[in-house]
Amino acid sequence: MDDVAIVGVGLHPFGRFPGVTGIQMGAVATRAALADAGVEWRDIQFAFGGSYEVDNPDAVVSLLGLTGIPFTDVYNGCATAASALTQAANTIRLGDYDLGIAIGMDKHLPGAFSADPEQYACPSWYGDLGHFITTKFFGMKINKYMHDHGISAQTLAKVAAKSYRNGALNPNAFRRKPLTEEQILESAMLNHPLTHYMFCSPDEGAAAVVLCRADRARNYTDTPIYLRASTVRTRRLGAFEVHSPWLPIEETEGPTVDASRAAYEMAGIGPEDVDVIQLQDTDAGAEVIHLAENGFCKDGDQEALVADGALEIGGALPTNTDGGLIANGEPIGASGLRQIHEVVLQLRGTAGERQVPGSPKVGYTQLYGAPGTAGVSIVSR
């Protein structure tokens, strides 16, 4: 599909900002996206806002202008931003509006995410026993994947080291200090085989994306980026998912695979056409698994691809060029729009020190999280 265009992107840096609220960060990101598109807040006809911690992201209008527009809040776990973007694009496709915005913001406390297990349809004893934590799911998933497909811990360290290296090139990133593979492997073991520096951290930040009808895009920019597909899927029975007290014997592919296939079909684009990739790297293992789940390689090929530098900015599959979640952290509501921000800069050729060479034409983003939800977007020049 080529009926919706991205004409503006904006970011509030990701990290820790004492004294700055999530709403305030949302307003900063929104103003940056408006300026990028060359429009005013009063030109925006509708909005979708995503957050985990902020009850009412739409309250950002208090800081932007009370223009009376329809403003819908969405929350969909780690796929919140993909849901806001998908709904915004579909609103334009419905034909009622020409210009809208998707905004994501969050401000998390340090440490692993927590919640009430019963709100996830889990029994309360599951939380009592210490099972209700996402990090050990990611540990189990990559531990099994390494066993089944011959991936080494060194590969996980190489992936994380690449993220910190890329983060050092990104002025908006949370973690900007390169770490060696040895430092990553020797940091505290949290969930075997994942060490402290192989994980991302919940943090703070905001991002916003201005969208319009594709046939109006050149009114705003000389470099429109077209949203070719944006999909959200949830798990089917048999997928290996977080917060599962049990799994059936039958096994099936996860929601990322379903969202990815649907996005490729919608876009009429295949993985071989993609020039720059942003994947959900909650941990280094998730990036390895998601490379295959999104069709960029076969299971097990990651060992050689990583060793050959394929995921580097100058490699064949440039992945998480802005440092991904590992270097940026994860403000849930904003994380997916940060991915869109990065691929838009890359396709415009304005990514600076981390610019992928060769004038990339197609960008790909993927989110995954509890309780088994995934979102995929494909953009192109």
Partner: protein, 145 residues
């Protein structure tokens, strides 16, 4: 010492050979753990209790080296925290159950190894009694390996 299960209705106990209490769909046969009121495969509301096999094989595992967020975690935290391992054990070709493992040593855990149900202490109840939970422990399989 007085012992109480971490929750009622998830394992038969006290018993000489305790078993996990699962659910089985009367329409499509899907087995769940614990019991639930409807079937996530066929959406039927016809579910009955179904006791699970005591032995199985380790399907996936990891360690938990730091205290999970509390709440909801009710185990010891701070200096009292003991790292533990968790995994999924496939039982009787019917279901995979997520469970604590009785060893947290990665060198003692291997995907595919035989495992057996054990009821083990988890913590201390408000009345000073001992909270008991289900867990799985490395076992010798039927072939004696």
């Amino acid at each position: 010492m007085n012992q109480v299960p971490v929750a009622e209705g998830i394992f038969t106990w006290p018993a000489d050979d305790p078993q996990l209490i699962g659910g089985r769909c009367t329409d499509c046969g899907l087995v769940t753990f614990p019991t639930q009121s409807s079937c996530p495969r066929c959406s039927s509301t016809g579910m009955t209790e179904h006791l699970l096999a005591r032995r199985g094989r380790l399907w996936a595992w990891t360690t938990q080296s730091f205290p999970p967020p509390s709440p909801p975690y009710k185990g010891a935290v701070g200096a009292e925290f003991q790292p533990f391992a968790v995994g999924y054990v496939e039982l009787g070709g019917e279901v995979k159950v997520e469970t604590r493992l009785t060893t947290a040593d990665p060198d003692e855990l291997e995907i595919g190894m035989p495992m057996e149900l054990a009821i083990t202490p988890f913590g201390t109840a408000e009345d000073g009694g001992e909270i008991m939970t289900f867990a799985f422990t490395p076992a010798v399989d039927e072939a004696g390996q």
